[in-house]
Subunit: 144 residues, 2 copies
Amino acid sequence: MSGGGSRVLKCRGFRWEGVELARYKDEEEGSRFRGVTRQTLLGESEPDLASVTRYFEVAPGGHSTLELHRHPHVVVVLRGRGTVRLGDESFELEPFDCVHVTPETPHQFRAAGDEPLGFLCIVDRERDRPRAVEEEEPAHPQGG
Amino acid sequence: MSGGGSRVLKCRGFRWEGVELARYKDEEEGSRFRGVTRQTLLGESEPDLASVTRYFEVAPGGHSTLELHRHPHVVVVLRGRGTVRLGDESFELEPFDCVHVTPETPHQFRAAGDEPLGFLCIVDRERDRPRAVEEEEPAHPQGG
């Protein structure tokens, strides 16, 4: 029996062996996002996979872009605490909480406390580009 | 802005809110597998998702079926320690290690130590059924 390309990516301190620590987006960090890194674990160079598994980490005080797109997200928190905004509401997050972001839902992740907020985010390999949402008014504090 | 069905599944002690703790397989527990549970987090009842995200937990001393199938797996360990067999080799696993099981690779997860081995396993929604592999000889101890 052969392993046929199967492999284990070892993790040490939330860095995966052989995986580049990448920029979150190809645009300048500023008001739209702050303190976010990306590691693409599997799916970009593995043609048998229809989904891409990424790990994002948001530094304390940081946040992702408030954005939306047609493709959905599956998110599973691995470390830290924070909030996710889903439409008009915000929800607290802690390790292993799972989030379903449905198509066209504006969403944003924020780290809380002293530890980074780290989470897996699984998407389809074929997907549309995110569109940033321009903030008109503050979101309701801590709904749902 | 609307949340449009987006939601957070809170996790407490590796049980997710509203998610059934299910049998690993619809067959009797025995020599093929032992001490495995399944929670399907997202993808079975969410038509926008092309992938299904499951959480499996293998009790201390337990193991999954040695099996193979055409669809690939993406696995991320959330708790415990153990090993994964991939073809003829076995690899140690600890939290946050990531595994790519390619199509037709015989694979099996085993828990080691006193804590359960818990991991996410992401698959395509449309997929073939696993086929059990009948063991002919013991796998090489701890390769790769």
